[in-house]
Structures are given as C-alpha cells and as structure tokens.
Homo-oligomer: 256 residues x 6
C-alpha cells in the first residue's frame, strides 16, 4: 500500500494543471504551494521536446510531476518516465485487461513491461538492480477512468499491481455513459462515488480534476489522495479578465 495514500484525516494534496508547454507558466504555476502538477500531453500543445525541458524544471521546484500521456501506448507511457517524470496518468483505459497492458508499460518486468533505458531518470548512467527497484517503487501509474467499460471494471482495475491509483475523467465519462455533457449531476457524482469506493476498498490512491467547489468538496469528503484545482488556461483567463475589467471600470470612473 502506498505511503502517499491519504486517510480520512489527511486532506488531498493540491495540484496544478499545465498544458501549453510554456516554461514560464510551469514556473509561476508551481509557486503557490501545490504538491504536484499534471502536464496534459494528451490534449495540450506540449510534445516530447517540451516534456524533456519542463519535467526537470518542475522537479527542481519540488513538484511531483505527473504526465497525462498522449495515448495508452507503450511509447507515450515510457518516454515521460525516461525524461524523469514521477508518474503517468493514462487516458482512455478501456478495462481491466487494457489496464494490465498499458499500465504495465510504467513498471519493469516482472511486474510490468516497461522498456529499460539509460536516460535522465537513470542519470544517463548504467542500469543496476537497485535503480530498477527504486524506479518501480517511485513511479506512480494512474489509470484514467473515463470510458464506460472502465467504470464497469473499476474493481478489477484497482486490484492490479501495476495500477497505483486512478484518475477519473468526468467529462468523457459522462458523455460515454450516455448522459451528454458533464454537469455535476447526481449521476456524475454517483459514478465518481463508485470510483472512490473501489479505491478505498483496494487501498489505492485517486486524484480528481476538481475545478468546481462541489468537486473539491466531494474529493475531500471521499478521501481523494489528490485534487487538481488550478488550470493554466483558467488561471490565465481569470487573471487577464479581472485585470482588464478592473482597469476598464477604473478608466470609466476616472473618465467621468
């Protein structure tokens, strides 16, 4: 059982969400007391060259770095880990069998099927049995639960050794469960509840993208190990909007 797992008495770790690949956004976004960052390499514009830069910068700032990888494929999982990420979040895991395969790419044999490499994660040096063991202990692999078939097999998924935890994708899950656009409905939270319960039963971690107060309260109430609460785009938009709006209001007041 993971020592990072929260208990009822431990509030969830807070995380930031980065997607553009901007170094500046990474530096500023990791300045407000978050414990971890999620880099969205699935949808954001960042690519491998960007990950190779941002990962060491974020780690040097004390952040646990989790990469939401481009796809549930071997290469998408292993490269961020080669570059030194602390963990991966794998999108569109379709079920337990799929999870066993794709989450296995984050752990070396015999536990999984990660490919050995002498990159940054190894200090560009020589492989040793000790390093292999340490990497597997350190590397966190989260399966995204955002497909209906994955929710159906949530208990089997969290039971897998190669799965350190799960990361729900509420928007994709809602539309794939036939409810259309995610709306923080009772059904939406019921699905999240099922995920939380499965994790609790299996003593596994889960991290919620929790932008809304209701999501944050849910994460706290149900023992999430982490919640992602500050999104780069939202932060930029909120900051610019308020700065411009305040100035416009002042200019109008002053101009009268």
């Amino acid at each position: 059982m993971s020592d990072r797992l929260t208990t009822a008495a431990t509030p969830p770790r807070l995380g930031a969400w980065l997607a553009s690949g901007s170094i500046t956004a990474a530096e500023i976004g990791s300045s407000y007391g978050t414990a971890f960052v999620v880099i969205d390499a699935e949808h954001g514009a960042i690519d491998d060259a960007g990950l190779n830069v941002v990962i060491p910068i974020l780690r040097s700032r004390g952040q646990e770095v989790l990469v939401k990888v481009k796809a549930p494929t071997r290469e998408s999982v292993q490269r961020p880990l080669d570059f030194g990420a602390d963990g991966v979040i794998i999108p569109h895991v379709l079920g337990a069998e799929h999870a066993r395969e794709v989450c296995g790419y984050a752990k070396f044999p015999p536990a999984g099927d990660r490919s050995l490499a002498a990159e940054r994660a190894l200090g560009y040096g020589a492989l040793t049995p000790e390093w292999i063991a340490e990497q597997d202990a350190r590397t966190r692999c989260y399966a995204m639960i955002e497909d209906a078939t994955a929710l159906d097999e949530i208990e089997e998924i969290v039971a897998l050794d190669v799965v350190d935890g799960v990361f729900p994708g509420p928007s994709d899950l809602a539309i794939r469960r036939g409810r259309g656009c995610y709306s923080r409905s009772a059904e939406d939270f019921a699905d999240l509840r099922r995920i939380a319960d499965a994790c609790a039963a299996a003593s596994k971690d889960w991290i919620l993208p929790a932008w809304h107060p209701l999501e944050q309260e849910f994460a706290v109430a149900h023992g999430a190990g982490g919640m992602v609460v500050a999104n780069e785009y939202t932060a930029l938009g909120r900051g610019f909007a308020s700065l411009v709006e305040e100035a416009r209001t002042r200019a109008e007041a002053a101009g009268r």
Copy 2:
C-alpha cells in the same frame, strides 16, 4: 498628427503585456477586449523565432501589435516590423539625437533609415512606392522615456517626425533619476506629468504601463492614448494563486 491620438473625451485604449512567447498566453491574453498588446522582447524570453509566430496570430485576433524591441539598434527595430508588427517601442532612448537615429529605423527614407525588405509586412511580394508610403503611415514608433537624459530632452524627442509617441518606463526612470526603486511617489508622477504635458503640447500619443489603480487614474486624467493594464505574469500568478487558495480554503472547511 495621429488619428489614433486620444482626446480628453476618449479614454485610453487598453492593452495586454506578453513576455514569455507562449502562443496560448497570446491567445487567451487577447480575449478580453484589449485593443493592443505589447510584446516585451527586451526582457522576456521571446526571440525572433517566437515573434515570427506570435505577431500574425495576434494580428489575426484584431490586436494592434507593439513590440518592445530587444535594444535600440537597427536590427532589433526592423525585424519585428518585417514580421508584421504594427509598431515598436524602443527601450533606453537616451535623448533627442539618439531618438532621431533609433526611431528612424522604423521609418523608410527620407523620413528615417529603415531597411527595405520583402517579408511578411509586404506579403512576401515586390516593393512599390504605395506600400512604402502605407507602411510608414501605419507603423507606430514609440520611444521609451526611462533614462534621465531622455526626460531632460522630452520636448525635443516628441517633436521628432520619426517619433509617433512615447512610452514611459517608470521603474527605470525612477532609479536613473536617483530616487531608487519606483514607488508611485509624487516625484514619480511629476516625471510622468512632464512626459504627458510634452506629448499634449506636441500632439503625440503616449502609452503608460499602468498596473496600479493610481497609474490608471493618472493615465486617464492626463490623456494617455493607451495604457497597458494586464501583464501575463501577473495574470498567471493571480489566477493560480486564487485558484489554489480557494481550493485550500474549501478543503480545510470540508475536512473539518
């Protein structure tokens, strides 16, 4: 006299400030009703390759694009204009003679000494007398007033044909005027007042970096043509800080 010059009845145009070179920040930062953006190529991490990308994207979003150029040199002035910028802001202009030279790099002969080129600004096509005239009419050149010697010669600077307006640099000006760190003191505003008066007398535009309410009120009161009110770094920081703080507060409340 510029048709974009504001009068007492016209509030200053609002502008955003970009410095990192992030395309996403450019797109989000230009979404809240600003009329123009300033790209800080003097201190920000953006370089020519970045300007070449961000300038056309910002212009396609209806923004007037002003580049605070890397240095008061020919090459730093002309390249952003080649890439299609609407204007340049030239840092560390030291006086009237210096302004005549370096602001001249933004206008073609006989008015100035800009070098002719067939780049994006020309549609990659062939030079014509009409285009040369249009470019000179369209291109805005702002001299920064941030050195004591420039302030001493402000009246001569704004009288120059190659100077479309000025852009005060309050922090550099304060320290160079011997007052140490800029503090929005009476002396600071007295200097800005002298600049505003000189522009008014010469019917020239001026744009103030106006982050603080006092600066914004000053800009409105003294007829600035524009004020830069929303800084990318501040926006990011304010956005992330508030999102993390709100989540922490909620988590603590919920966790009790």
Copy 3:
C-alpha cells in the same frame, strides 16, 4: 448530407498541399485563391508543435484546414482537432470496421469516440453541449482509400456516419492493388471511378490529390468536392527551376 458537397454544376474546391511546416510556405501557399489546405502530417516533417502554429495562421487566412494525420490512431486524429483544424484526413484506413473506429476519433460520443478537451478548438474555455454539437457539425473526417481492402469495402465506408467523405491515395492504392507504381492507367482511373460512384450514391464528399491534368479533369467530370492541385514541394521546385533556368539562358545569351 453535407452542404459543402458539390453537384455537377459546382466545380471542385481547389486546395493547396503543405508538408514542411514552414510558416512562410503556409502564408504564400494560401495566397492564390485556394479554398482549403491539406497539411501532410503523415509524411511531412511537421509535428505537433508545428501544427499548433500553422493551423491558426492558415485559418486566419480564410483557409479550411485539413490535416492528413500521422496515423490512424486516436491521438493522431484528436490533437489536430484540439489545435483547431477544420478536419482530418486519415491515412491507411483498412476497411469499414477500421473506418468506424478511427474516423470515430473525430466525432464525440455517441456518434464517435473523440476525447473531450478544452483547447484552442474550444477557445480554452468550458465545455458546453452547444459547443460539442457545433464541433461535430463543423469537423470533417475523410477516410483515405489507399489500401486494397478499403476499396473492397468502399460502399460500407462511405455509409458510415462518422465518415464525411473520402480521400483517395492513388499511389499507395496502385501498388497495393498489385499494379506497381501509379501511372494514371485505365485501371488506376477505374479504381477512382469506383470511389467516386460510391460517394455519389451515398451523397458523400471526396477530395482528390489531382496534380496532373488528367486527374483534374477526372475530378471535375466525376463530381469531386475538392481537388488538391498545388504542392509545396512542386511549387518550390518549379519556381526555383524556372528562375535559375531563365537566368542561365539569359546569361548565356548576354555572354555571347
């Protein structure tokens, strides 16, 4: 039925083909009255970082942007759409079942299986049911018909809801149909004819890479909705070749 579909009375839209990722080539290549561009991300040197730049620049120039994606995989299909492309062209679709899966990555559930994201396509904002509907209506998905098995199932492929049209790949199709190198033979055109007929019967669009007069005439005669007629490499080569050749001829004449 698509409103962009041409009829006998409507000539095919003309398109340009870009592959290098050069911004300049994108700007110049979209200056001659084409309605759309195809960016070849399957074989060209452009990668995601390049797509993220070129897509908004081309769209701001009034071009419909279709990305021939790197591979028939979820991540290759969804990222260009996240970056704001108008549509995707999916290479090496192997048959109707394959088309259902991979073209489905271009449409959200329940129609398809595209993953939801808040990127440029959404204005970096919040998901709404309206946006989801609009995206699906706007996004064009073309299946490439370049494998023998796909031609065998062309009627089933064009009948699929997730397929807005098809894009034949004559060179790959010829070699995979056992005819060796494509030569605009009668058999080559017979295959294209079968594709055109299937589209007509299903009221679906098709776009032909039509570099040669015979291909262009075929596209017009058989009601193609679009034809790609100007290739970046050909344009560069033709332009450089003629400029150098003309100069050489003149130099020799003048030197006599």
Copy 4:
C-alpha cells in the same frame, strides 16, 4: 543475401550511439571512424523535428544512419525513412508474426506495407518504379530481439524477407527472460549466441550494442555485422569525468 554481411574474415563495422538530438554531438560523434550511427528515438529526447535535421547532417558525413524508432508502429517506422535514414531498428518486436507486420512498414508492397511518400528520401520529387526498387534495396530493417517471445521465434523472424537483420537488446531481454538486471552472465551470452546462430544460418546481419570488452569480443567471435561501441552519454561522462579529475589532481598537486 546482403553484401554488407560480414564473414569470419571481416570484423564488424563500428557504430556510434546518439540519443540527445544534439547536432554537435552528432558531428563530433561521427568524427572517429565509425561506419554507422544509431539514433535512439525510442528512449532519447530526439523527436521527429530533430530527426529531420540530424539525419541529413550525419549522412553528409558518410555515416550510415540507423534510427531505433520510437515504437513498432507504422508511423514510427516510416517517418525516419521519409527523412532519409538508411535503416530502422524496431524495438519490442514480439515474434515472427509481429515482425512480419512491423518490419513490413520499412518495405514497399508487395514485399511489405510501407506508405509511399515524396519526401527527402525521394528528393521531394516524383515517384518512379526505379526509386521504389532502389529504396527497398537500400533500406535496412533490423528487428530488435529483446522480448522472450521474440527469442523463442528467432529462426522464423530472421527467415522473413522484410527482416534484413536483428539487433539484440540484452538488458530488456535479460529481465524479460526472468534473469533480472543484465549482467553479462553465461545465460546472457547464451541468448546472444542463439541469435547469432540463427542469423548465420539465415545469412542475415546482426548488430550488437557492445559497450563492454566481453560484448565486443563476443560480437567479433560470432560474426556480428556491426557493433555499437560508443555511446553519446558515456562519451560525455567519460570525457567530463577525466577532464575534471585530472584538473583536480593537478590542482591539489600544484597547491601543495
């Protein structure tokens, strides 16, 4: 049978290993008499934009360029070849059926299933039957033998027409054969011996990553066609370590 195949009388070609994408490292690393380079695009930080630059530079320096591709997928195999690589090394080939498919992406039909393209490899020109034949003759495809299932089917793999040779991955193979971290043990060499024998029997090439004297001696003794003997990271580390250590020793001696 390949004319590059070594015989007992021919020592293995020597190769360098590059992974960072640094142009300088490519230039310096190809200055010491190697016949070929392997670019590790599976684990190294280099991506497609980097390959597009480094491949022509290395080829102009007389090196045969083999790219260890990112994954055993069509797109990962074909793009380096489009960019002009002489060959590919395909990681994690799982067995003969897998090899037939993924190595097939390196050869055009009817031999394989490579997709046709008019990129650097073709001089950006027009496809001809002659070029197709020449490419297939020139392009080298090596299957990596690093999974237990591949070793089990080594004889079938080397018998395939689309397989020009194999490239063992000793570290991955050891851990996947249940021996834990590779240690140059008798079992490790027994596996390599089986690979070498299969190649000899099938008159196919094999290339060994041979960093250690024992590996190099093994490669020579068993008729490897090539051995990779100089790794960018090792070279950098060895060079920096010795330079710093020598200076420290001298400084201490001089300081006494």
Copy 5:
C-alpha cells in the same frame, strides 16, 4: 586577387536566395545548379539556431554559403562563420572606415578583428596557425553598398584588404540616393555601374541580386562574379500561382 573572380569570358556564378529558415526550401532551392546561396539573416525569419542547421546542410549539397548577416556588428558577422558559412554579406556598411571595422570582423588579426573560436568551422578542435590562415583565405566578406555614403566611398571600400567584394542593395540605395522606390532606371544602373567599375579597377568580386532580366544582363555585361537569381519567396509564389491557375483553368474548361 581572388581566384574566384570572373573575367569577361566567365559568366557570373548563379545563386539562390533563402530567407525563411525552412530546411526543405534549402534542399529544394539548392537542387537546380546554383553555385552558391545567400541566406538573408538580416530580414528573413531565420535566426542563429536556424543558421546552425541550414549551413551544414547546404554545404553538404555543394553550395557556397553566404550569409547576409543580421547587422554590421561583430556578433552578427562572426557567428555564421563559427557555424561554418563560407562567407558573409554585411548590410548597411556606411563608408570606408565603417567597412574596415565591420568587414574586419570576418578576418582574424592582424588583417582584421575576428574573434577566435573552436566551433564547427574548426571541426570543434584545437586552434592551429594553419587553420587560422586557411580560414582567412577561405572566408569571403562582401560589403553591401546600399547607403549613399558607401557609394561615395566605393573606391576606398573595395581597396580594403578585409573586403573580398561587394554586394549592391539596389532598393535601399535608390531610396537613400533620393530617388524613391527602385525602378531599374538609368540612375539606378548608373550607380551599379559605378560599383562595377570600382570593383574591376580593384580586381574585386561583386555579386548582384539580379531578379529581373535587365539586372541579369547588366551583371553579365559588367563582369559580376555572381548574381542571385532565384528567391525562395518568388519561387514559392510563382509555383503556387501557376499550379492553382492552371488547375482553375482546366476545371473551368472541364466543367463546361
């Protein structure tokens, strides 16, 4: 006296002009028999990172590489030479004294004032007296004659040892000589004639940007050593324009 200097019996070398930094454009643009390329780093979007890539690629294709540098400054002159360029073309040389200084940055002391470095030009190795002598012999430095004051001192400029030749800038020269937009007028050619005569008298090379038949004939008639005849932007535009126009004409004809 330069051995590359043409005589009445030798037609001018032909050159291509590149400006975007596109590798593809460099490869295609150097495929039609030119002897040299000019890379416009003064106005084009290419920066040092781009020069570092394109220079070795062009040199490997047998082209003499001349970089029109960003500015007449030490750093702009020396870096392309460090990266391996064969020569530099220095814009906006203002007169003989200026030429002595800035062209001097292309030659080592005692001839000039170039800074010593162990970069690509030196093979990343150790400085030797032989290499210093060879570099100075190989490196070509062209002063641009595009300012009125430079034309006034053309005889003194071409007499300088650090000046291997000159490169007229007809457009800038016309506007700076008070004639407005360059129009291939008699006065324009009279200025060029003065430059050609000065070079002939001093046995120095000159290269003309000669896009127009009249310019090409002039260059031949007056013994230019080289003429730049094929511009990347013109080539792209001419190629795309003709391809689209031909297709449109065919489509209209076919559609009738």
Copy 6:
C-alpha cells in the same frame, strides 16, 4: 572584496564549459563536482531560447552559472541575467572606459546601468529595493581580457566597481598582441601574469580557461579564483575517440 575570492590556501573552483545548448550535455557536464559552468553564448550555437532553458536546469543542479555573452552590448548582458544567470563574462572589452560601460549593464543604477525587469531572476514578481540590492550583490560580472588595449589598462579595469573579476582569453590575446597563434609561450604566460597580479593587487577574482596542465598549474600558482577545465567538445571528442579506439583495438585483437 568578494567573499568568493580565493587565497593562496584555497585552490581555484573548477568549472565546466558548455557551448552547444544541449540539455543533456548540461546535465552530464555538471555531474562531476564542478562548482560552476561557463556557457559560451558568444561562439556556441546556443541562443536566448536555449539559455532560458539551460540556466534554470543548471542552477537546480547546484552550479553557479556564468554566461559568456554574445557581445559587449546591453541586450546581450542583461538577458542572461533576466533569465537567472549568476553572472556574465563579457567578451572583447577594449579598455577601462569600455569596461565601465558594458560591465555596468550587469549592475543596476547608481552602480551601473542594467535595465530593470520582472523576469525569472525576480521570480516574475514585483520589484523591491531589497531585490535590487540582492541582485547586485549576487550578480558577478567578469570582463574578458583578450584585446591588447584591455591588457594595457588592466589595472584601471580591475579597479572598477562594476567589475567583479576578469576572464582572460589567451588565444585572442596572443594574436592581438602580435604573437600569432597562442602557444603557451613565455610571453603568453607573462601576459597572464600581469592579469593575475593586477587582480591580486585589487583583490578581484579571475577565472582562467585552463585546458592544459601548464595553464592549470599557472592558475593554482597565481591564485586564480576559478579555472574552466572541462570543455563539452573536448569531453565528447575524448570520450568518443577512446571508446571507438578501444573497440577497434579489441576487434582487431579478437579477430586475429
């Protein structure tokens, strides 16, 4: 007087030299116990975008980062400091008056003339008097002594407040002192001795590029504060050369 200044009892700090901009080389090059790194932005291929990445990565690895800037200009000096460098080394300082100006760009008024900015060095935050004071105390500015005129005025240069130390450039100095290629001659060391003596008299630091044992012994004997002993290119070359050579020897021995 600097607290980092060495005394007879303190051996010089050891430093590494980086020039390519490779992140990997930066990481490996800082792994062998050096106290500082010099990044050669004057001659190396690294540009501002590269500095912006490598500086924070090197600082996070405990290295003092000194950037040998592109040129003795305001913009070249201030940007690396904005990006967080610990100090700058300014090439081609021509004398005391020149040093006062260009080294002044590294210190804020009233000591110098550095331009104020809110970039990484400031944590992207707001200017305070405390930060200004701390920056000036932390920032190290080294004048290069590599021109004859600078050596002539070495005593005046080291007496300047804006000069924290000097960095001799032996190769440029030798050729500019009329001795041709640097050869570690008695005259070469006499010049270095004069520099060392001037620094000792003025209690200023000096750092020697000391690749050769004689240079290293000289640096120790004469109280250099630092010596740069490990060059990226040398390290790469030495590493690759020895690895290839050892393998070739073994292959030949084994092949007999």
